[in-house]
């Protein structure tokens, strides 16, 4: 803690470039702490990034992940399951942000261990508000498990 507090890293898993841009912009526009928003354009991409963290090639361990559900290839849901089944990543909070309001999706995501399920706001201002809430709660209010100290 003596170190200069680094900016929290938020990994956004989103297949649509526009949506990533909007999420990043909304995170910036929202009041509160500054964050480093990183982009994975698929679930596989996200797993690859995390593998890089483990191999200490300079990838920063995400403090928080924002995951879309409907993506080509591996679904967001499978990604959540994979992460929650892996001890190293289990403690990273996962926010599902999607257009789907299907009861089935909501239940399945929480079953897999998602930490929050929320609908993508339709209006820009509401979208910025929801990002503010996420930052405020997960990055400024809640105490998160610190990344496991690099062993050896």
């Amino acid at each position: 803690m003596a170190q200069v507090a680094k900016k929290p890293t938020v990994l956004i898993v989103e297949d649509c470039a526009d949506d990533f841009e909007f999420a990043k912009r909304a995170l910036e526009d929202a009041e509160g702490c500054e964050v480093d928003a990183l982009w994975s354009e698929s679930a596989a991409d996200a797993l690859h990034y995390l593998q890089g963290c483990k191999n200490r090639i300079g990838n920063l361990r995400p403090d928080l992940m924002i995951v879309d559900l409907n993506m080509p290839g591996m679904s967001g849901q499978s990604l959540i399951k994979e992460l929650k089944d892996t001890p190293e990543w289990r403690s990273i909070p996962i926010i599902v942000m999607t257009n789907s309001q299907s009861k089935k999706d909501i239940e399945a995501c929480y079953d897999c261990g998602a930490n929050t399920y929320m609908r993508k706001a339709l209006e820009w201002d509401d979208f910025v508000d929801s990002m503010w809430l996420i930052k405020k709660y997960w990055l400024e209010t809640a105490s998160l498990a610190s990344p496991a100290a690099p062993a050896g």
Binding site: C16, F22, N99, L122
Partner: protein, 406 residues
């Protein structure tokens, strides 16, 4: 045979000598004995002609001796008449028997022929009946099969249509939303760089993107109407309208509209969401397409329907009215036949929702309208929708529940 042959020969030889004795002596006793022998000979099977030959020989020999044979001839004749009488009787009896047998056989033959004919006719009828049954069965099977394939084709096409609308509208919504967001960011980031005209055009593009997004959502909703219904329950239309009045409070206030509800409407056994879609869209329509100073929408139920008929509901407005030439188009998706007094929020899908819901319940909708005076939309629900007449006060008249399909 070997036993009988000498016996017969014996009898005949005894008979011959008895006849000779009788003829020579003329004693009746000898004659009687001879005749007795003759009868026995017949009984053991001597042919009658042999006996007559015997008699003839004796009579000739007797006549040769020059004696009077007339008495002997008379006696022989009497004997033969007596013996032949037995034959005659037997013959008569036999012929009677034969006749009877013949007629019995004939009768039996006729019965058999009749029976054969009847059996044949019966089997012919059975065959033709079987053929007809088989033909009819085949025909029915073909019809059932045809019907089944039409049904499944219809189901498939419905499924395709529904999933097409679902997928299309889901996937179409995303880029539209992104377009709107890009425009929004452009506006907030670069406001000072744009001329007034550019800002106006940006505003129009944003508005149109929003509008299209709304249409796509409507399409999605339209596709979902058929599959996302709640369960039917006993619903009081007045309650539904009152809750719509609350939901639309701002809208109603903004347009200074008045909604009047008749208190006497029967309860309906329907999915509540259906009644909600019907009344909400018809009410909104009556207010949106209305340029009167005091906009009024009144809702009620025709009380003069005959028992057993489905009640007819009406939603009446003092709006701009609909020209009869376009009244058929108003139920088409996204078809707007006139400008609304609203901000252009409507996509022109409300009435197609209403029509779809009503038709989904087996009912129909029609209208009566006069340009500049107003419109009245009428609708009735299908016979499967149970109707419950309300009692004088509240729902006390539950026993009056009747189903119109009786």
């Amino acid at each position: 045979m070997t036993e009988r042959a000498p016996l017969l020969v014996d009898i005949l030889s005894q008979y011959r000598s008895a006849l000779r004795v009788q003829m020579e002596t003329g004693g009746d006793e000898a004659l009687e004995q001879a005749h007795e022998l003759g009868r026995r000979a017949l009984e053991v099977g001597a042919p009658l002609c042999d006996l007559s030959e015997l008699h003839y020989e004796q009579l000739r020999a007797y006549a040769k001796s020059g004696r009077d044979v007339s008495a002997a001839i008379d006696k022989s004749e009497a004997f033969f008449l007596e013996v032949a009488g037995v034959y005659d009787m037997a013959l008569g009896g036999f012929s009677d028997l034969t006749t009877r047998l013949r007629s019995e056989i004939e009768e039996r033959r006729m019965i058999e022929a009749d029976l054969r004919d009847a059996t044949f006719e019966l089997s012919r009828q059975r065959d033709s009946l079987e053929t007809r049954v088989a033909e009819r069965t085949l025909q029915l099977e073909r019809q059932a099969y045809a019907l089944q394939s039409v049904n499944s084709a219809l189901e498939r096409s419905n499924e395709h249509l529904s999933s097409f609308a679902h997928i299309a509208s889901h996937d179409m919504r995303e880029p539209l939303r992104s377009m709107s967001t890009h425009l929004h960011l452009l506006e907030i980031d670069r406001a000072e760089e744009f001329s007034d005209e550019a800002k106006h055009r940006l505003g129009r593009i944003k508005h149109l993107a929003r509008r299209m997004e709304k249409m796509v959502s409507d399409l999605l909703e339209f596709a979902q109407i058929s599959d996302g219904q709640d369960e039917p329950s006993l619903v009081d239309p007045v309650d539904v309208i009152e809750s719509i009045r609350e939901n639309l409070a701002d809208f109603i206030l903004k347009h200074k509209a008045d909604i009047q509800v008749a208190t006497s409407m029967p309860n309906l056994y329907v999915p509540k969401s259906c009644l909600n879609i019907i009344f909400q869209n018809l009410i909104q329509n009556g207010i949106k397409y209305n340029s009167s100073q005091n906009k009024v929408v009144s809702i009620g139920c025709d009380a003069s329907v005959f028992a057993g008929e489905q009640p007819i509901f009406y939603v009446l407005d003092n709006g701009i009215g609909i020209d009869p030439s376009v009244s058929a188009q108003i139920f088409t998706m996204f078809k707007r036949v006139s400008r609304t007094n609203d901000d252009g929020d409507g996509t022109g899908s409300g009435l197609s929702f209403v029509k779809r819901v009503i038709e989904g319940l087996g009912g129909k909708i029609w209208l009566d309208s006069k340009v500049g005076v107003g419109s009245t939309f009428y609708f009735s629900l299908g016979r499967s929708v149970l109707v419950e007449e309300k009692g004088a006060k509240d729902g006390a008249g539950r026993e009056k529940t009747h189903s119109a399909d009786r």
